[in-house]
Symmetry: none
Subunit: 248 residues, 2 copies
DNA sequence: ATGACGATTATGTATATACATATCGGGACG
DNA sequence: CGTCCCGATATGTATATACATAATCGTCAT
């Protein structure tokens, strides 16, 4: 699938009109200019603005609706959706809930925070086609006094308005993002590793001890949003996921 | 999690025509009736078959293309795509396919096989309410000459009749079961462990080396079918799973 | 053979039009 | 005052049509 997205307006690129409309609106939503609940212009208004037929506008809006960014209601119009709080991934990765389910007090502590222009490695991790501003975060999730998980996160600042101003001192970026950015797709990579020096140090375990590493990339309407890596000490964690076959 | 957006409402008769076309074709592809590489009918042929305009057919095919199920080429037609390797890894977990995707020859070798009346531990692993016959299997999956994964499996014989007569000498029980028992639900537990003596021995790695352990329980119409534990050496494997939020 | 080139073909995008459908609001009526 | 119904309105789906674009095929000339 194509991550070809064009937020740049310059240079007569040969993207189709309905894609440009879609991309314009997505930009408004992801930048925060149109908040959740905001009513998007009616089809006939966009028709006038872009000087095209309703079918063309409709195509763009239908795709945004399918991507989950907007919600369409007959007779009322189209609205920016509330970000979905999600069961599927939540089940996997709301660490606070997992910790509290163990009956232990939860705490998040920021280790590092750096705003920078994306390096080549950043772009490859996020799946970004072009350079842009990103936010790098590192933090620790605690269960009681013990480190429960190490988090290393990269946020695509051009997709998440407002993240640049957030300090994330004691607020974990995961819940913060879920409350603000609707996600349309997520990819998980799960593997086991031996703890290296820095991981062992952060998690207070022995170097070489087995750890579970969960990496997640998240997209919103084909826009990369964030890449996060969780490192769990082996004893502390089991992931559970339930599936029902997709009736295809 | 889905390969294609499953926004179909099924039971209702009020599905739009382009959705019915889309769903018909998806059915043919996912059922295997149209193998990868197969050329699906031209738009003008589908136009005739469904007695509708080309735009309607085009809408269905465009969505299938965006979902990644088919690939469209001007002048040539539309073709069923090669299965996207990672989409259903967690769901199916067919090790042969994973190994062959690496370009390595695959082989399965049985280590142990025992038919017995379920012990208390067996019942707890399978989620069985009452004692009954079970089959215990242990085997090794090879990628080339190297062990790729250790498999320990419990099959509920009262749910899977023919399994008792199968030797599983070089046939892995996973694919065998999938071909015979439709599953309606699966639960995965994923964690990292340090290899103990017997695991290290079977996988030919050092004791204490990190391993990824994936356990799966499967049900068919509320009947426990099988419990399986895969143990992967850390370097050999990354699980990949893609999710799309279910929009309620 | 081989390479150039135009005709053919299937898809890609956009248009104008039409009617269906859900729903909000307001007016008629009990 | 509440309820039912009806018209207005935005979206949902489908049609016929048009032209653009990319790729393939056959033909013809070198």
């Amino acid at each position: 699938m194509s991550l070809v997205e064009t937020d740049d307006v310059e240079s007569g690129e040969s993207i189709s009109l309905h894609q440009r409309i879609l991309s314009d609106i997505r930009e408004k939503i992801l930048s925060g200019a149109w908040a959740p609940g905001h009513r998007i212009p009616f089809e006939h208004e966009l028709t006038a603005e872009y000087k095209c037929s309703r079918m063309t506008v409709n195509k763009a809006l239908s795709q945004l609706a399918k991507a989950g960014l907007i919600e369409r209601r007959r007779r009322s119009g189209s609205f920016v959706r509330q970000p979905q709080s999600q069961a599927a991934v939540l089940e996997l990765h709301d660490i606070r809930i997992e910790v509290e389910a163990l009956g232990l007090p939860y705490r998040y502590e920021r280790l590092k925070r750096m705003k920078r222009r994306s390096s080549a490695e950043d772009r490859s991790r996020l799946g970004l086609p072009a350079p842009g501003p990103v936010l790098w975060l590192e933090g620790l999730h605690f269960a009681g006094e013990r480190p429960f998980a190490l988090e290393q996160r990269l946020i695509n600042l051009s997709a998440v308005a407002g993240a640049a101003e957030e300090e994330f001192f004691e607020i974990a970026p995961g819940p913060w993002l879920i409350g603000r950015v609707p996600w349309s797709e997520a990819e998980h990579r799960i593997r086991a590793v031996a703890a290296d020096e820095s991981i062992a140090d952060a998690l207070d375990i022995d170097p070489g001890a087995p750890c579970l590493v969960v990496e997640r990339r998240t997209w919103s309407a084909e826009h990369p949003v964030t890449h996060v890596r969780f490192v769990y000490p082996a004893e502390s964690h089991t992931l559970v996921a339930r599936f029902t076959p997709s009736q295809g």
